[in-house]
Symmetry: C2
Subunit: 479 residues, 2 copies
């Protein structure tokens, strides 16, 4: 697994000294990305891309199990098509890349590189939806999209990123709303049970919702530094796009109706979220479900008789059931330990002459460094148990961080005080007015993260204007 | 599986009446693609995309088994980067799409949407290759690419298409050449054993090789109408790009050397090749390895007692091992048969009251319409055998077509006569001069398809100029 010419594991910035630099160090030194002359875009290297492949597989399986089918739409959107839905074009036009020439000829109509594909899906749906028997349409697409951001950071905000975008059409509003929540729940399940990342499920405010949506739902995760990360969103569109694109179906009652629409997506941003939730001063810490290598075997005193054979025997046994690898390079064991810590490999198995004699190996957890002396006969069972337990521990640790970093604010002064001294979620009541949302941004530099499901009000007046309020909102700073 | 609102299976043009129209009918009526307002691009619909997913899986497994890793490069290439290798930019610049604006701002340097990614990989390799220990680098990428074609056809020639592009770097020319052939052989194996498409492996002439390559190798398939299709290519670059991009490694002997490079790719064009090799007047005929549905159960007299239960029992048994589906809509069995023929499903299983009584079902092959009365106890075994046999039969039939359509030409007159009266490969000797290649194009409207491996000369003078010739070339018309 080790890159050939590297001589030692380079140091990274301490996480608590400079979180941003620590993040940048990890994405580079764990070999996740590289930069190129294409400004604002990233090269996703084999180790980073393997994480994405695991994310894709785990989500795609869930999508297909709930009846979704994959398709592929063109990467270009003609300007006139993008303009068909007013709110949508206003939201996206300022940040798209425009193709204006094909070969040496100027195009008669410029094309944008898709920032999202609602318009393309709608044009297609207008062609293929005729009757109630054609519904629902449950499509998804894995692709890259482009948004011309001014400031970029690997995985978190990149001019090009990889994602999936689900686009579905339903006969009724009720069915479409159920789909919106079904997919949000799939994201929440994936974040919590596969990635060990606790999320708050909730609704976005009008100000923060997706351009063109009736309602946007989100799963929000809190990073180690107390800033929030929007993990995935699920949008309910009503029949707005259907009307704009003239999509109608003949219902059972023989009348023409507009179908109701959803879209939902997650992106390579998830990888940034994993780093900032679980990583530590030694590097990346990967949840086993998406780790390219779940367990690595490292021989100790590998030149002594029988060590390499024993290591290879362990690797081969583990490879039957897990993503297993071994490091047989002639680097020192200490170097190898650092390297697999930097790369966030969940478990390493150390095996040396004394272990062989005792019929055991030493399993070391990446997340808490616990050493588990394991009889060789129990190898697979212990590895399986530990991998499960790591996901659980990561989740609990992240949940603890979130709880430590969540405060209630009952007054504006209190909110400003918390926002200026601490980093995390601030729970406060809100009247629903955009003006108050803007005041909070201005005075406390926080945005509404979401109106969480399962509302448990902590007061009855808006923290900003003092008018009656029924909505509890999570406020904070976000990536 | 059936689309909801379709009332009957629409007719398609006869294959021998109008091959081009027959092709277009199939891609639309088998629900493989749809058109959009994005000219020259296609929407790949769920049934078409599922074929591509199977192609990806089968190839990706082979790539990973031979040590390759997937990465993701930016989709844009700055003009100055594209220009670094002279032959390369000359070949591609005339047919790229140019992004000139980001948001509302004009870019200081225009970016092309990648037509292929040699330049991006080389820039990255210059960053990460330092020592002989870093070699080989065996990278692959699954992505979409854009070439601004004037005339387009779904799958065969589209402004945007999906593909994989492998890009590798090796310490020596020998290793790189071996890689080039290794990947060509993987393509040949995939075409012949998974897709039932016989291919000719060979080298492209200087005129037909990839822009910037030292040598291009190809697997060429012959379509039912006698036109050739370049199925996949594998290029050896020598150290030309390495020199242009200043990629050097420190070798064991402590001197700096240029590494040797390959690239290789196949695209969604393969789907067009499958259609044109195996399809018939009833629609698509899919090789089992890539068929989204390998076997479909169709109940006959489904309203009679026990029929639906028996059908579902068969479907459930088959789903354990195969990609199985059933059609329980209230369309007639005849309609369903036509529908699954149009979609090219390799096997259908018919089950009705009399079959149930006799403890059997009827398995019908798509390729030759053979009906196999099968005791229910033998279901899985027979389905497995038949799926294997279908691939073999498809291959043999396609091979027979190729043999029927391959002729030897010993004189120019003979070659012109064959080219003007028949469609297929013409085998003829060639001196190696580009001028003769151009004369053949002008006078007989054929291009060199490849210089096949395992040369068996049929003469010793060039069919065009009469000078000494040692190379046997396959000539023909091509997609």
């Amino acid at each position: 697994m080790a890159e050939g010419s590297k001589k030692f594991v380079e140091q990274i910035t301490d996480r608590d000294t400079d979180f941003a630099q620590w993040y940048t160090d990890i994405v580079k030194k764990a070999d996740l990305i590289d930069y190129s002359s294409v400004k604002g875009c990233m090269i996703i290297r084999p180790y980073g891309y393997a994480i994405w492949e695991n994310i894709q597989r785990l989500l795609d399986t869930r999508f297909k199990a709930t009846g979704h089918q994959n398709v592929y739409m063109p990467m270009f959107i003609p300007e006139s098509l993008l303009q068909k839905e007013k709110d949508h074009v206003e939201g996206f036009a300022p940040e798209v890349a425009w193709v204006t020439m094909g070969g040496s000829e100027k195009l008669t109509e410029k094309l944008c590189v898709r920032p999202t594909s609602e318009t393309l899906f709608c044009e297609h749906y207008a062609n293929i939806i005729r009757s109630y028997r054609d519904l629902p349409k449950l499509y998804n697409q894995w692709c890259s999209v482009v948004r011309w951001e001014k400031t970029t950071r690997p995985f978190l905000r990149s001019r090009e990123f990889l994602w999936q975008e689900g686009h579905t059409m339903h006969a009724t509003a009720k069915e479409a709303k159920e789909e919106t929540i079904r997919m949000l729940d799939i994201y929440a399940d994936f974040f919590e049970n596969d990635l060990g990342m606790p999320v708050v499920r909730g609704q976005k405010t009008e100000k923060e919702k997706f351009a063109g949506a009736v309602a946007t739902y989100t799963v929000e995760a809190l990073m180690h530094d107390g800033k929030a990360l929007q993990g995935g969103t699920s949008h309910y569109f009503g029949d707005g796009f259907a009307r704009a694109f003239d999509i109608q179906y003949l219902d059972r009652d023989n009348t023409l109706k507009y179908p109701h629409q959803t879209s939902w997506g997650v992106s390579t941003r998830i990888i940034g979220g994993i780093i900032m939730t679980h990583g530590d001063d030694s590097g990346l810490v990967l949840p086993p479900a998406v780790a390219p290598i779940q367990v690595i075997v490292i021989p100790v005193q590998q030149h002594k008789a029988g060590v390499m054979e024993a290591a290879e025997d362990i690797r081969a046994r583990l490879a039957v059931k897990f993503r297993a690898d071994a490091d047989y390079t002639d680097n020192s064991p200490g170097w190898k330990f650092s390297e697999c810590e930097m790369k966030g490999i969940p478990l390493r198995v150390e095996i040396g002459p004394r272990d062989i004699e005792a019929g055991q190996c030493v399993i070391v957890r990446r997340d808490n460094r616990e050493k588990i002396v394991t009889p060789l006969a129990d190898l697979e069972r212990v590895v399986e148990e530990q991998l499960k337990d790591i996901t659980k521990s990561l989740f609990e640790k992240a949940l603890q961080n979130r709880e430590n970093r969540t405060e209630n604010a009952h007054t504006m002064e209190e909110l400003i005080e918390i926002a200026s001294t601490k980093s995390g979620y601030i729970r406060a009541m809100w009247c629903g007015d955009r003006a108050c949302e803007e005041t909070l941004k201005e005075k406390a530099d926080v945005t509404s993260r979401c109106i969480p499901f399962g509302q448990a009000p902590i007061g009855d007046t808006c923290v900003c204007c003092g008018k009656p309020a029924t909505k509890l909102v999570f406020w904070g700073k976000a990536y």
